[in-house]
Subunit: 714 residues, 2 copies
């Protein structure tokens, strides 16, 4: 879908880069630079730095973010004709810069999400320089995320439990010279007001400059609505749905002015957050309030949001393009997910991400770049946040996949210290209201009623996920996780051979987050003591990986299904996390870098099938002869009523099958779960190993499920 | 503090009023009108309607709000000189109107809180008419508050459990003709940014038109700061404090331009809402958020907010003037209150209220006019709310007493149905941020952690206030109440003699809220069955009133003190309610209409002393010989450390004194409570009657307390 601007000319620029000890230092050496990109990548190429992804090489990149970096190009002969203007159009600089022409500063800019332009018409032949300032680091703060607490730079690159400390800098988005007629079609903004009953939409297209003629085309290229400056009523708009509820239908908007034609895919839908069924009852006096609404309603239908937390798809934002995000979004859709929370510690993704989500019917909860810090009520910070957030909102609001705006991650928790009164969050709420009033806004997650964590299969008190979530009572689980080790073949690509076995702290295992990653637990994220507790010593890497992944896969399955059983009080389950920014040795991601689904991915996919027979299981490990009990359920998030059938459960160990019995499932209503009976049996007398609970379900065994539990020695 | 505008001339207008069956109907009869006032009051005077406050006369006013009402005056000879303009300046019309000059509509306006003007310079001799439209009533809604759900008209007058259904209309604020030079000084807006450590303030005065010279004068009239367009730094500003924490210091701002001088009292302070001590801990996983902050911090000091809910001081807002509000605010200050919640069901008070609060050091939590309704995401409603709220904020933000903006009352509860996503509340949050960013904003009350209710001495389950609040765990009790009957002498002024005894439903008692007032309890607010349960049948009005007021006074004392004992988790106790709009026969107000403190007032005053010795009591009624136990406390909200002393407790019945023992109080820190021992004794063997727990405290017996309990028959 490319815009046609026959009268525009884009002129490529060749860039060089110099590293400076200070802003005023004269460049002593120039190296080739790729734009978009990052100074660290250019420097590494020029200086032969080792791949930061391997072993502990990442430490060789330490401190590069503290230099000034000077990009240089020459303004080419622009061949400017009367009535034309020429600009240097910059898609984004990470993070703050000064633009100089002919050695003189013409523009200063802070914030990576606001594109900017500067006129260069009369300056052909002169040097254009972009001086990138050192990464912001709050004075007095130790190395870590709190150094980012007075900036809009995503905090994750300052070091996180799954992300190395590597703080990118540079021109990270498409940038170059553009010659165009003055006053030609710059943009066309599509907006609409849907009737309460969704039967019509009042469509407005605001062009800059005003007055563009526009058409809305259906999939066959037929115009279904035409207009210009005045709003037009569209009868029976075909609505955009998330993929599990309907078709993610897109129209094409074509706006024409002068010789220019802008084309964009647009969708029409209504997204709300509503209080769940039964959620208005708040008990006796003194009475508090109902919990904040977190049930997603799309086009008037309440859904259960199944999904995951999307994080940085690469350490370097300049590399996050369609080639990186499309395979990931495809995996998310194929996992039966319908919503991704685009987490506030990371960047707001480029258009390719939202385009893919629009197409594939994936709802997006987009957070602003605030995470786990106390972002201050400071006028200078707020001014940057104001500009950055307005840029972000104006860009992303166009996408029908956008379901929720979020202020940022875990800001109302002790480790952040912000509150409802923090001006940064009130400002974001205001900007969303001003620029995109029909999209819900959450100041942060979790809010009251929502839960984050646990991120372990088994907690300090010995509670397994079955118990932790079986006794929890939340309206949404917007983060939860079970960690597991990376596949052996992946580990071999980034852990040096000599360090592979046994995994030890202080080695590349630790660099890649297998030890001491998460402040709450020193054994994170490999959790060797826990694995050993269930299975004893592992004899080699393969065995260890298999055991860790077993716990991860079983745990994730349990939490997703338990959250779904808690519908309608609960209406959201998003595991932590979906993807990763570089190869981790152990962690919570379902999909390893760059787009390799692990065994936990298959679990999440199974647990998120719209319809499935599910078993509520008390714990992971059993002994022969023990009384085993599981409650059967049929979970239904689909739009279809379910016919009656039979659900049967059976324990399997070492080939021995012990039936638990069956449940004559009476059928069920669209979108409603049905609780069945608790069935029990004795655990088979078999050798230690896997204890498998198989649940078969008629009429179609597509609903069947299997749970991989553990049989210990008697 | 009057502004000097020597070049302005105010020309009085004489008004007449006609009642119309429809907008287009020709007036058939004119009656004299008072401006400011209300059409009902004019009509009653002209037609001899009985006083609505007496008996059930209020029903004679039913339906007057459904007429169109036409105000008429004649534009006088304005004596306009060159360079002058003349306007009709209207302070406020309740609720919507059309202004006509010479029979032609020149202006339409909705909303009572936005003043407006219209030019009349060339129209001398012509008729100026204000056609007041019928009161807004949402189609399809039954008589009651929900009829106000699409308007900014305060919902209370549609009928409330303590307010008659009587819906005022008319020109309710100062209005008339003004002749003035064009372009002269219209306003001077004072604002400041306090340094984090409060050591200096950056003061800005923005005048309209710009360029006024200004001075800040201290109490002796000495200029302490001068300036014009540029901000000026003020070292060591003398801060405004609420009266119990310091001096409510006010400066005088004097702005001069041309011949005009504007004078206004201004104060400098910083108010925040912060999370209470210990409030950041939220337990294990899944982790939610910390509760919303509700502890008031003024000038860096956290305080306990003791106070009440301020409601309509009269049925007719046009009568709420300095003469009405100053005695009430004085009573609030004398009750040791430091904060009033100006409740969203009622009007936003005129300046006289805020002036009095500024002077007397009374903090104000000001809600916008939304209460107990689902105010819609409707563009027409939102447009009016936008204008009304901007008018309100621009006016009230000047007052140092303003501590909190609130979106409205109980909007996140089942009976309202709004949520954090409601556009009306997001709009109010935005407008407050835009126009008064340094004042905290609460979307509604209660929020999570806060409690509203109970409003009874004893609930349906038999729990008394001692138990209800002793087992509650809230961050703020922003509404709670104990009802009681009005004093006998008051009852005799508005209940017809024939109806006085015994009180019965269907009589003026019910009209004045003694029966079936509150939907949750048909015996509200007289609670005859409850009074009888404790004391048996009452033999006459005097005995009934004394018994009811006894329960009320004892209950309120208990709740205020219990809330204070829960400091720091709890940091606010505001009873429901402070005042009333007309004489109620029974209810929760501390002060009867118009400004008569009842016995419960004395209780609240005692319980809100900055320092007191307090006893935690298990229940109200006792039998001789029972084991009585009470825990002693010293409550300290003052800024002073307390010296050691002794606290003694003693039970008194029919002259017999039984000591419970004493506690050698070790002294205490400023602002900190000290918990003492639980002391016990046998209840005296005495005849039924009052059982008094007296707590004496040294060194100064000013801390002493007394609790009036009941001794039943053995």
């Amino acid at each position: 879908m490319s815009d046609e601007r026959p009268l525009w000319r884009r002129i490529p620029a060749a860039w060089e880069l110099a590293r400076l000890g200070s802003a005023g230092e004269a460049p002593s050496e120039w190296v080739p630079a790729q734009v978009p990109g990052a100074v660290q990548l250019d420097w590494a190429r020029a200086k032969g730095l080792p791949d930061y992804r391997f072993g502990s090489n990442v430490r060789a990149y330490d401190g590069l973010e503290d230099y000034h970096w000077l990009y240089r190009t020459r303004i080419p002969d622009l061949g400017l004709r009367p009535g034309e203007e020429a600009v240097f159009a910059c898609g984004g600089v990470d993070y703050a810069c000064e633009v100089r022409i002919g050695g003189k500063a013409v523009l200063r800019h802070e914030g990576m999400f606001s594109p900017f332009e500067t006129e260069v018409g009369a300056r052909a032949g002169e040097a254009l320089e972009v001086l990138v300032l050192p990464a912001p680091k709050e004075p007095g703060e130790p190395p870590g995320r709190s150094q980012a607490r007075r900036s809009c730079k995503p905090a994750v690159s300052y070091g996180w439990d799954w992300h190395p400390r590597l703080i990118p800098l540079g021109i990270w988005a498409e940038s170059g010279f553009v010659v165009r007629p003055r006053g030609r079609l710059r943009s066309a903004e599509f907006s609409y007001e849907l009737a309460e009953d969704l039967s019509s939409a009042l469509v407005t297209v605001a062009s800059d400059p005003p007055g563009a003629a526009w058409r809305l085309l259906d999939g066959a290229g037929r115009a279904v609505l035409e207009g210009s400056s005045e709003p037009r009523v569209m009868g029976s708009p075909r609505l955009w749905w998330c993929h599990d509820q309907g078709e993610p239908h897109l129209y094409t908007l074509e706006a024409t002015l002068g010789g220019d034609v802008l084309r964009r895919r647009v969708g029409i839908r209504r997204t709300r957050l509503v209080v769940h069924e039964g959620g208005w009852a708040v008990g006796g006096f003194p009475a508090s309030r109902a919990k904040p609404p977190i049930t997603v309603e799309i086009n008037g239908r309440r859904i259960f949001a199944r999904g995951s937390n999307w994080v940085s798809a690469d350490v370097f934002p300049g590399r996050v393009d369609a080639g990186v995000v499309r395979p990931l979004v495809t995996l998310a859709r194929d996992a039966n997910f319908n919503l991704l929370r685009s987490w506030g510690g990371a960047i707001v993704n480029p258009e390719a991400f939202f385009d893919a989500c629009d197409e594939m019917g994936m709802l997006v909860w987009q957070e602003f770049p605030l995470a786990c810090n106390d972002y201050p009520d400071d006028p200078a910070y707020l001014a940057v946040l104001d500009r950055e957030s307005r840029s972000i909102i104006s860009r992303v609001r166009r996408h029908p996949c956008l379901a929720i705006w979020g202020g940022g991650n875990e800001l109302f928790n002790a480790w952040s210290g912000m509150t409802d009164q923090s001006l940064a969050l009130r400002l974001l709420n205001r900007n969303c209201l001003d620029l995109d009033p029909r999209t819900p806004f959450l100041p942060t997650a979790p809010l009251d009623g929502m839960g984050h964590g646990d991120y372990r299969f088994r907690d300090d008190r010995g509670r397994e996920v079955f118990e932790i979530f079986g006794t929890a009572s939340n309206t949404a689980y917007s983060e939860f996780g079970c960690p597991g080790p990376a596949p052996e073949e992946a580990l071999r690509t980034f852990i040096p051979e000599a360090e592979l076995w046994p995994p030890r702290p202080g080695t590349s295992w630790e660099t890649h987050h297998a030890f001491g990653a998460w402040e709450a637990d020193p054994s994170s994220h490999l959790y060797l003591p826990m694995i050993e507790r269930y299975f004893g010593k592992s004899q080699g890497l393969g065995e260890l990986v298999a055991r860790g992944q077993w716990l991860q896969a079983t745990g994730l399955l349990a939490v997703f299904e338990e959250a779904r059983r808690q519908k309608p009080r609960c209406s959201m389950a998003l595991n932590w996390c979906f993807n990763e920014a570089w190869p981790t040795a152990a962690g919570n991601a379902l999909v390893g870098w760059p787009a390799k689904p692990g065994p936990a991915y298959a679990s999440a996919k199974a647990a998120c099938r719209p319809v499935l027979a599910s078993a509520r299981i008390p714990r992971f490990q059993w002994r022969p002869g023990e009384a085993f009990e599981a409650q059967l359920w049929v979970l239904n998030d689909s739009c279809d009523d379910l016919p009656p059938g039979q659900v049967r459960a059976c324990l399997v160990a070492a080939g021995e099958r012990v039936p638990l019995g069956s449940w004559d499932f009476p059928g069920g209503k669209a979108g409603r779960n049905v609780a069945g009976p608790a069935l029990s049996a004795r655990v088979p007398q078999a050798a230690p190993g896997e204890l498998r609970l198989e649940v078969e379900a008629g009429p179609a065994n597509a609903w069947g499920s299997a749970y991989r539990l553990s049989l210990a020695a008697p």
